[in-house]
């Protein structure tokens, strides 16, 4: 019986093994083509696109919400007219469901399905691991040769697509950096004549919360903006350099610290605990599946602790809100890593992929086409230059994935939701951006590879404690100690040491 079993197993291994081998062959054959794909060496015509060859079809994977838009084929047809003319290539867009992105890419890569460009979103989660796994490839050469517009428009921001000193991805330019603070329901503020514009510290909010709690007993006073987040972690500024285990507590510091032990964090959780005990925070805060933001819009919550406070100082849709910032905006690496374009290591023509990205970043026409669709069919142009997209059912793109949006027109709904006029909107945005500082660690990305095991264990520990502590649901003094002990037991020190070592090396090479 056992002998037979071995035979059956062997047979199955052989069959699948042969696929494994053919895959290896593919891998090998594509490897040399990576080099030969760069035509510079041969003709020396740097940056000149070869129009004599058969047009290459670039497979572009981008993010969608479950399904592609019905009118995508129309957009693609229009897009191909332009790309054939400009870079002698066709574009085949394939949406990847956002929530399932990691799995889909892993499957595509392991079965070596054709993929050239991959949008990583949120890119800070995927960049290091995909680069480590060699799912994506370095693109320094291609960028140097085919990406003049990319270098020009992105400037310093390009660095956030680097990993271990090599360029692995092209970031999308962030239109603005949001910061931490609070959103308040404007109607309640007005009703009780509360002025929040002078709030400087968390304690300043005590009296505000007290009034609302007393006058509106059925209202939850404070909630975290997202149900998976927690109030204290939202409110304590921290640049985790890739994960929550050891980070910079100040944008100018170069020494990593465990945020959960820092004095400021302890102060913050004490305050949150106090609010919880006074009944400002819902008892269900740790298990509710409804976001504070949703509850705020529906009149259940008065204020949310948020990391999305932007330059507009509030919004008018769906309800009127006023926002205050508790910390000046600081740009960190992960901010410009939200949307990253990278080239699959199985791509046969990385040069074409970069050519397309370059074209995308230099052409407002393409950005507008991919973002808003076709004029007259999917949008109308308003007198003030914004686009009216309200009649559009069959094509919309949810995120600014496609190129340089500072060149493209603004969507009307986006501007009106902020309650500002177009001019005000642009002015305020510019002022805010000029005021945004960069973290000293901007551009540094932690390579979790050497401490993968520890990070998995730490993630499990953090999932157990962080929310319970950060929302004030339990007395923090004892539990916080237990949390930190568990973190150290799971290898926190090792991760911090490794991160600090990498960070120091990065600082040294970047002369900071």
């Amino acid at each position: 019986m056992k002998k037979n079993l071995v035979l059956v197993l062997l047979a199955s291994f052989l069959v699948v093994g042969s696929i494994g081998c053919s895959n290896t062959n593919n891998g090998n054959s594509s490897a040399p083509s990576n080099e030969s794909a760069v035509p510079t060496a041969e003709n020396g015509d740097a940056g000149k696109i070869n129009f004599d060859e058969e047009p290459y079809t670039i497979k572009v994977n981008y993010a969608v919400l479950g399904q592609e838009q019905p009118d995508l084929p129309k957009i693609e047809a229009k897009l191909n007219e332009i790309t054939l003319k400009e870079i002698n290539a066709k574009i085949d867009l394939e949406g990847v469901s956002l929530y399932n992105m990691a799995n889909v890419y892993a499957l595509k890569a392991s079965s070596r399905e054709k993929t050239d460009l991959m949008l990583l979103m949120p890119g800070n989660r995927y960049l290091a691991s995909f680069a480590n796994n060699k799912m994506i490839r370095p693109i320094d050469e291609e960028l140097a040769q085919w990406g003049p517009a990319l270098t020009e428009t992105l400037g310093d921001n390009l660095i956030s697509g680097q990993f271990n000193g090599k360029q692995y991805a092209i970031p999308q330019k962030a239109d603005q950096k949001n910061t931490i603070g609070f959103h308040f329901s404007k109607s309640i503020l007005d009703k009780y004549n509360i002025d929040v514009s002078n709030i400087k510290s968390l304690s300043d909010l005590d009296s505000v919360f007290a009034i609302v709690h007393e006058k509106e007993p059925n209202m939850t006073v404070l909630a975290p903006e997202v149900s998976v987040g927690n109030i204290a972690s939202i409110l304590k500024w921290n640049d985790g350099l890739g994960n929550a285990y050891g980070g910079l507590l100040d944008p100018n510091s170069t020494k990593l610290e465990n945020m959960y032990e820092s004095e400021e964090f302890v102060e913050t959780i004490k305050k949150v605990r106090e609010w919880y005990q006074k009944g400002y925070i819902s008892k269900d805060v740790n298990t509710s599946q409804d976001d504070g933001a949703t509850l705020l819009d529906n009149g259940k919550v008065f204020a949310v602790a948020a990391s999305s406070v932007g330059f507009a100082g509030g919004s008018i849709k769906p309800i009127e809100k006023q926002s205050i910032a508790m910390y000046p905006p600081v740009l960190t690496t992960s901010d410009t890593q939200l949307l990253l374009w990278s080239v699959a290591s199985s791509s046969e023509r990385p040069d074409k992929a970069i050519q397309f990205l370059n074209l995308l970043n230099s052409s407002a026409e393409l950005t507008t086409l991919l973002q808003f669709g076709i004029e007259g069919e999917h949008y109308e142009v308003n007198a003030n230059g914004t686009l009216n997209v309200s009649n559009n059912k069959n094509y919309e793109s949810y995120w600014p994935m496609f190129g340089d949006y500072s060149k493209a027109p603004l969507s009307e709904t986006y501007v009106t939701a902020s309650g500002l006029s177009v001019e005000e909107f642009k002015l305020k945005q510019k002022a805010w951006n000029d005021n945004t500082k960069k973290s000293i660690a901007y551009g540094f990305i932690f390579d979790p590879g050497p401490v993968k095991t520890e990070i998995a264990a730490l993630d499990a520990v953090a999932a157990q404690y962080a929310k319970v502590i950060g929302n004030g649901a339990v007395d923090p003094t004892e539990l916080l100690k237990k949390f930190n002990d568990s973190l150290y037991a799971a290898g926190l020190q090792k991760v911090m040491d490794e991160k600090q070592r990498q960070f120091d090396a990065w600082l040294a090479t970047n002369n900071k």
Partner: protein
């Protein structure tokens, strides 16, 4: 004539079953009511049996996608029917073979089968096998084949039933009469174990009906054969993902009735299956009376 004592046993059965029925139905009613609750009310007061304010908004949102959903239903029905019929029949045929005690190699086959209950190569290698060797990506086979068609558990249950509930003498006399094995299976074993077919069929059908993972992995996002659960799951998961990841705040989830829509989605997904059960039950009872044979 029914004895008094039997009546008492019957009463005890009623009491237990009434309690269990209430425990089973109450949450379902809650689910139904929640899906008809006004979004703001649901967020304020939580889900409740008697919501303050009713609303059809969640269903409006779903029906706005009706074109897609209607087609999804159709795909799901096709896949469920084909998958269940084929799956149950091939499982039963294998079980029939295995239920023959003197079959050479029976133990080996049983072992190989049990082995599959415990070991699996994982999603990645299944995906490689199905897409690289059999090329079923973006075809209806992508919804039918991976993982769901049959499993060892059902085969073992069938086999056990054939062994213990179908009198061997019946099969032997048919064999002596010269009937082929396929004939015996179709004419004797199958009718006699109809309730078992219904039970296994029900679980298989439910698995097909509820499956969204195959659609997620084996169909591209532009595929025209998305099943209903894949569509519903996409709506659900994307709302969740957007909430959790705070991806740049570029999409407002505010206009999607998130708290009530997940309930409406569950109702839309489950009601057709519930409606089918009485039909299954009729076969079950029919088979039951036929199955109670004397040995």
């Amino acid at each position: 004539m029914i004895e008094n004592k039997d009546k008492w046993w019957s009463y005890a059965g009623h009491i237990v079953m009434i309690i269990l029925s209430i425990v089973a139905i109450a949450p379902f009613l809650l689910l139904l009511m929640s899906s008809f609750t006004d979004e703001a009310t649901a967020l304020k007061n939580g889900y409740s049996f008697f919501p303050e304010k009713f609303s059809l908004n969640a269903y409006h949102y779903i029906s706005s996608q009706w074109e897609m959903i209607g087609k999804g239903y159709l795909i799901t029905i096709i896949v469920t029917v084909v998958g269940t019929v084929v799956g149950v029949i091939i499982s039963a045929m294998l079980a029939y073979t295995l239920s023959k005690h003197d079959l050479p190699g029976r133990n080996l086959l049983m072992f190989l089968l049990t082995f599959t209950m415990l070991f699996n190569g994982g999603l990645t290698s299944s995906y490689i096998v199905y897409t690289q060797i059999f090329h079923i990506k973006d075809t209806i086979l992508g919804l039918l084949l991976p993982g769901l068609l049959m499993n060892a558990y059902n085969v073992v249950m069938f086999k056990n039933y054939f062994e213990h509930s179908i009198p061997n003498a019946l099969l032997e006399s048919a064999r002596i009469d010269g009937a082929t094995e396929l004939n015996i299976f179709a004419k004797i074993s199958m009718p006699l174990s109809l309730p078992m077919f219904v039970t296994v069929g029900l679980t298989t059908a439910l698995m097909y009906w509820n499956d969204w993972t195959n659609g997620m992995y084996y169909l591209s996002t532009n595929s025209s054969i998305q099943s209903i659960q894949t569509i519903l799951n996409n709506i659900n998961e994307n709302i969740k993902f957007l909430q959790q990841n705070n991806v740049g705040n570029m999409v407002s989830t505010g206009d999607m009735p998130s708290a009530t829509i997940r309930m409406a989605i569950a109702v839309v997904g489950v009601v057709p299956m519930l409606g089918l059960f009485p039909i299954f039950q009729r076969w079950f009872v029919k088979g039951a009376t036929a199955g109670a044979v004397k040995e």
